[in-house]
Amino acid sequence: MAIAQPLLDKKTSERVKSQLETGGFNLAEGAFKWALIGTLVFALLVLTVLVYDVVVDGFPVFSDRLDTFMANPSRTRADETGIFQGLRGTFWIGVFVILLTFPIGIAAAIYLEEYATDNWLTRTININIRNLAGVPSVVYGILGLTIFVGILKGVYGDVALSRGNTTTAGGLTLAALALPVVIITSAEAIRAVPSSLREAAYGVGATKWEVIKSHILPYAAPGILTGTLLSLARALGEAAPLILVGAVQGKLGPRTGFFELQQLGEKFTAMPIVITDMAKQPGSEWQPVTAAAIVVLLLVVLTFNAAAVILRNRFERKRQG
């Protein structure tokens, strides 16, 4: 068999033989293990030190002027600038992802797992979704720029001088970007529902939708929630597609309130864009502000991410035990 092949080759069997004969501590063995530990420690250390460093860098901004930092719009001076508009944009993008991607993604997963028969259309959709998940985020920006911005130019054309580069266009673009992840993880969660559960429900006369609603979705809920949280975290951290859609880097005009719907037709920015803009500013006084903005974004993104990972691990353990 193919799997056992490596054991049959001469080099390996000689190595095994020499190990049997020498026994005891082996230097190469120990070195190999410690090299592996080294790589893992390096990976964890660099990334956690990076997070730690950013927190330390950004801390003065939080302790000195947390209120103005949160409430001010983008300004040209580092000690006055704030992330209000970035937070607002990121919030609305989140709303788009939650209201569009979650229902559509979960419904698509239900269709693929419960309704679809194995035909060319289903296979096409499946292949298509896997490929969509691998498309670079910047390419989704092209979709947003050509189609969403193009369409919205007509819709909002007279309302604002936005030329279509609106919050709506950004939200729709990232909703499209998050879709494949939601579908793939939800479909996996639904596939993991034991078929005995389904059959029991069908057996007492439930219709397909009743089975899905009262048995499959509740059982698959933790898995689905994990996927939606991961996709939300990813969408909120994306900058590249927003740059293509035309998110404003730098100062942004009118100051619409945080929850006002009017801004859906106005130009926008978002946290990752604000950070990009700050990072590009020359001068060391921008470093703490950038770090502080990064801390805020990390807080949002890593919270969703951590919730997803913890949730999945907890339920995996429960179901196994």
Binding site: P6, L47, Y111, S137, T207, A306, V309
Partner: protein, 324 residues
């Protein structure tokens, strides 16, 4: 018990409201599934349409202001010595080589470190260690790329590249590549670990039963058995590295969407993704329609490359499934 009286077929099919609801739900979920196809059509359609428009514009520049074009307009503009859409220099190889350099540097970091971490977690770590470390790695995988971009620009560039290689501020393809590499480590580690964990325990037992040490088992049994999964992990990570935008946009040092052709990682440069981002971010206000169209052409090339890589990775993943 009495034998059930035969019922007319109409009663067995349930009440009509329930059936109507079933049909509505069916249509809704099917429509949702088709949305994903619409997204794909949208992506491919807009890329193709605008890329073809760009190429057609090269063939027939029409009303383009030729004063800006050094050597006129034609397909020869796709092959010069620099990428500067404003001056109609669309040297594709500058960006392709830039992407290649960044990706090679990134994979030189991510492949050994990601793979090493995966081997340790899968083969050596105790359950307790794995239960703590794996989630941390997965959470770190969620760090947005713009954060790594900032790190690459403000720390890796001056401290690693600037110091070691005596550059001024260190902004270079190397700095960007290192940043992308760090970003890709968790992904590489996670997929590789999954691949190695799916190798049946019996193989390890058999190897240990023959007296092989852990390292022998790992290197000669587990790794070869997991090879298609590991290759897939490498390809997915490569594809992610090619598609990564923000780190390169911030740290590679190309200004105003202009980059000279270079194969030297220590020089400033640009990649396909970064060129698209800087084109769209409007640092170049006076750009012509044709120059702006180059964005879509580059996007199309990028899309084809990553799609090819993902399809190959998919093949490898399926081979793993077939074996077990």
């Amino acid at each position: 018990m009495a034998v059930a009286t035969p019922q007319p077929a109409g009663l067995l099919s349930g009440n009509s409201r329930r059936r109507a609801r079933e049909r509505v739900v069916h249509i809704i979920v099917a429509a949702a599934a088709l949305t994903s196809i619409l997204v794909s059509i949208g992506i491919v359609g807009s890329l193709l349409y605008r890329a073809v428009e760009f190429v057609a514009g090269l063939a027939d520049p029409g009303a383009v202001d030729l004063a800006e074009a050094r050597n006129g307009i034609g397909f020869s503009n796709l092959w010069s010595d620099k990428w500067a859409p404003r001056f109609f220099d669309f040297d594709v190889k500058t960006l392709l080589v830039g992407s290649l350099v960044v990706t090679v540097v990134a994979m030189a970091v991510a492949a050994p470190i990601g793979l090493g971490s995966a081997i340790y977690l899968s083969e050596y770590a105790s359950d307790r260690v794995r239960k703590v470390v794996k989630p941390i790695l997965e959470i770190l995988a969620g760090i947005p790329s713009v954060v790594l971009g900032f790190f690459a620009l403000r720390w890796i560039a001056p401290n690693v590249v600037g110091n070691v290689f005596d550059g001024a501020d260190g902004q270079s393809l190397l700095a960007a590549g290192l940043g992308v590499g760090l970003l890709t480590i968790p992904l590489m580690a996670s997929i590789s670990e999954d691949a190695m964990r799916s190798v049946p325990r019996a193989l390890r037992m058999a190897s240990a039963g023959l007296g092989a040490r852990k390292r022998t088992t790992t290197v000669s049994v587990v790794l070869p058995a997991a090879v298609s999964g590991l290759v897939a992990a490498g390809i997915v990570a490569t594809s992610r590295a090619i598609g990564e935008t923000m780190v390169v946009f911030l740290a590679a040092g190309a200004s105003g969407n202009t980059a000279l052709f270079t194969v030297n990682p220590l020089e400033r440069g640009s990649t396909m993704t970064a060129a698209m981002a800087s084109q769209a971010s409007g640092t170049d206000g006076t750009i012509s329609e044709l120059g702006f169209g180059s964005l879509f052409f580059v996007g199309f090339v990028l899309f084809v490359i990553t799609l090819t890589l993902n399809l190959i990775a998919d093949r490898f993943v399926r081979r793993v499934r077939e074996v077990y």
